[in-house]
């Protein structure tokens, strides 16, 4: 019933520790302008602007769509701000798509960003408010026990995470926009890097980045006005569940499984490993690759790590289902944009313009984001074929 929509423009900034040369407005404008240029459109070709980012406390600008209206050509247009924790980059793309798929608008601009160098993520994320009954040991402290539980259940060897950390950095070295450029990274180097939250080593964690990612999404009727091959949106899904409840499977969250089932059903996918050509999956800590391989149905329970170890997800090893060819979150992490980068990179793959990290002949790809205590999920599937 939804109208058919496609990504017709993609713009990203380079991701780095500190973009000291731009203001916050300058950063988002840069990505948005690149997306418009990619779509060969001017600002007046846009009907609505949808922005997303993680907590406002990162930059200390409250509800920043208010300040960013001029930088994004928002004047006189609808401007919406999405916030769904770490999945926000993905959710924002989905909300933007719904502006077109609903028939409400014909062409929209969506932008996500984080300028983490304006503050300190650990500060912004650690709850210092009084009477907090929890001990806060950072995101790693929260997720590490879940990874250990995965290792216990699956009997995965200790070095699966190391392999992912190397693989995604080698992918990132193919992507000139990636924050970490580590073309010579080795397993020994990752293994020797400091252990932070066992089993998470320093080099098995994502960096903290500045950056912005933007897309132009158009209705079928306007796709021809942009020169790039369109990335048709074939499935869109979001799911949420509470952070904690009795009996919750934190290793293999039900919300992730339900979200994947929904997006596959829409896109007509029954065997994701076979039918998808590649995927951009939110992996901020290396062990999340095998965990999500299982959660998303690319592997049977307990078998995800075997795909990783066999090189199935590696572009360099000519794997059959490359994951995170752009380098993924492990190579670039402007938090609020990280999810949208996954969605945009999936679109780049099916457009065939991913440069050195292109999967040959990729026709169908998945973008994925998650957030909170691995409880908020956003996914889409894009394809080079319209039908």
């Amino acid at each position: 019933m939804a109208n058919l929509a496609a990504v017709v423009g993609i713009g990203q900034t380079r991701y780095e520790t500190r973009r000291g040369d731009v203001s916050i407005a300058g950063l988002v404008h840069e990505a948005a302008l690149r997306a418009l240029q990619d779509a060969d459109l001017g600002w007046n070709a846009i009907d609505a602007v949808i922005i997303g980012k993680a907590p406002d406390m990162f930059e200390g600008v409250v509800m920043p769509e208010i300040y960013l209206a001029d930088a994004l050509g928002g004047n006189g247009k609808p401007m919406l701000r999405v916030h769904t924790a770490g999945s926000v980059g993905g959710s924002t793309a989905l909300v933007a798509a719904s502006h077109v798929q609903s028939g409400t608008f014909r062409r929209v601009l969506t932008v996500t960003f984080e300028k983490q160098s304006e503050s300190n993520a650990m500060w912004a994320l650690s709850s210092k408010h009084p009477f907090s009954p929890h001990l806060n040991a950072g995101a790693g402290g929260y997720f590490a026990p879940i990874m250990r539980e995965y290792i216990r259940r699956s009997k995965a060897p200790y070095d699966v995470g190391i392999k992912v950390a190397v693989k995604d950095r080698l992918h990132g070295a193919r992507n000139p926009l990636a924050h970490l450029q580590l073309p010579n990274i080795t397993t020994q180097e990752v293994e020797a890097s400091p252990m932070l939250w066992d089993p998470i080593r320093f080099l098995e964690s994502c960096p903290s980045s500045d950056g912005a990612c933007a897309m132009v999404i158009a209705d079928e009727s306007l796709v021809h006005e942009s020169p790039q091959r369109p990335a048709w949106i074939k499935g869109v899904a979001m799911r949420s569940e509470p952070t904690m409840y009795a009996g919750r499977d934190e290793v293999n969250p039900q919300a992730g499984r339900a979200c994947a089932a929904d997006v596959y059903r829409q896109a007509g996918i029954t065997h994701p490993r076979r039918e998808l050509d590649c995927a951009e999956i939110y992996v901020p800590f290396s062990w999340y690759e095998p965990m999500w391989l299982e959660n998303l149905g690319f592997a049977e329970q307990g078998q995800g790590w075997k795909l990783t170890m066999a090189g199935a997800t590696s572009l360099d090893e000519a794997g059959d289902i490359p994951w995170n060819c752009s380098g993924g979150v492990l190579s670039s992490n402007p938090i609020g944009a990280s999810g949208m980068i996954r969605f945009a990179e999936a679109a780049r793959q099916v457009r065939g313009d991913a440069g050195q990290h292109q999967v040959d002949g990729a026709a169908t790809a998945m973008g994925h984001a998650y957030g909170g205590g691995a409880q908020f999920f956003a996914m889409w599937i894009v394809s080079s074929g319209k039908a």
């Binding site: 500190r18 973009r19 000291g20 040369d21 731009v22 203001s23 916050i24 407005a25 300058g26 404008h29 600002w43 406390m57 930059e59 200390g60 001029d70 930088a71 994004l72 050509g73 004047n75 300028k115 160098s117 304006e118 503050s119 300190n120 650990m122 500060w123 912004a124 650690s126 210092k128 408010h129 009084p130 009477f131 009954p133 929890h134 001990l135 806060n136 040991a137 950072g138 790693g140 402290g141 590490a144 026990p145 879940i146 250990r148 539980e149 216990r152 400091p194 252990m195 932070l196 939250w197 066992d198 089993p199 998470i200 509470p242 952070t243 904690m244 409840y245 009795a246 009996g247 919750r248």
Partner: protein
């Protein structure tokens, strides 16, 4: 069920942001440091002072700077009779939209006059600079009713300053909140202050939550039945942390574990100590080590940490399902 005390405490959300300015804002701030004001020409020829980075009509990046006057006309104003703590002045003052000479679009800043009677729309005002401008909007201390003599004097005192372009500024943002814990949290922490862990049972699924938040997240129904729990727990999962927790004295490596108290159906996070890190395992039995009673407060760190006890491990499928009476092995 006794009514708990309302737990309320002030806290400060404060951080000094390190903002990069980009070339447009940076140029404006650099000129401020020289006690000069510049605007920028928009696509329609109008001059915006302070300069906008992007044209509000066309969204084009703007770049044509124009020097504007240090004086201008008040377009609108309001009188702040009771300044807030965050305001730049402690005595009553005005906020005003001021159209600087040579600019078309007014800027917002403060105007200081002795009384409200000194303010009127259309009046002429001039920038009054701080002694040592830093490259910040607050380098203009305020505007004051125009006085050509004073203005000339101000220019004489023009600061010899650094000519280097400003690329970044530090902006402290500090907000004070009076934070109040929720009813369920207040009740829970009131019990913790007495050395007792207390959960709440969901009336629908009968699961016991700790710390309770007033609802069963799975069922979405309110919880109020209180359940006394043991301070003996089972390790559900854990990690060995090798970096310090900001503001916490514990030295790495230390163990953070998800622990399920006997009688509860969900884990909470706490420290594990007096153990061999490499021997910690899922299913291991542990018990709270409390601080001396006189140090107890409304906080989970009344429990210094948990330590292993000599009880057999709980099988994986029984974790989170033990009665408050504990584990018999």
């Amino acid at each position: 069920m006794t009514q708990p005390e309302v737990l309320s405490q002030e806290f400060e959300l404060g951080y000094t942001y390190t903002r990069s300015t980009g070339p447009i804002v940076g140029r404006f701030l650099t000129e401020l440091r020289r006690k000069k004001l510049v605007g920028i020409k928009g696509s329609d020829g109008r001059v915006y002072a302070p300069p906008m980075e992007f044209d509000p009509q066309t969204t084009e990046a703007l770049s044509e700077f124009v020097e504007v006057g240090q004086s201008g006309e008040v377009v609108s104003w309001c009188w702040v009779s009771e300044p807030r703590a965050s305001h730049p002045h402690s005595k009553p003052f005005a906020w005003a939209l001021i159209r600087l000479d040579g600019a078309d679009v007014p800027m917002l800043h403060s105007v200081c006059t002795a009384t409200e009677a000194g303010m009127r729309t259309g009046m002429r005002v001039s920038a009054q600079w701080v002694d040592k401008p830093q490259g910040s909007i607050t380098d203009i201390a305020c505007f004051v009713p125009e006085n050509p003599a004073a203005a000339a004097e101000g220019l004489e005192k023009e600061a010899e300053t650094d000519q280097e372009m400003i690329k970044g500024i530090e902006v402290p943002v500090s907000l004070t909140y009076q934070y109040t814990a929720g009813e369920a949290t207040s009740r829970y922490l009131s019990e913790v202050r007495q050395g007792q862990l207390t959960g709440q049972r969901c009336p629908r699924c009968r699961k016991v939550y700790i710390p309770p938040r007033g609802s069963c997240p799975a069922c979405g129904v309110a919880t109020d039945e209180e359940v006394a729990l043991s301070d003996k727990c089972t390790v559900e999962s854990f990690t060995i942390v090798h970096i310090p927790i900001p503001g916490n004295p514990i030295q790495p490596p230390y163990i953070i574990a998800n622990l399920v108290a006997d009688g509860a159906n969900i884990s909470f996070i706490h420290l594990l100590s007096e153990c061999v890190n490499e021997e910690v395992r899922k299913g291991q039995r542990v018990q709270a080590v409390w601080k001396p009673m006189e140090e107890w407060d409304y906080a989970m760190d009344n429990i210094r940490y948990f330590r292993p006890i000599d009880e057999p491990d709980v099988p994986v499928d029984r974790i989170g399902k033990l009665p408050v009476s504990g584990w018999e092995g």
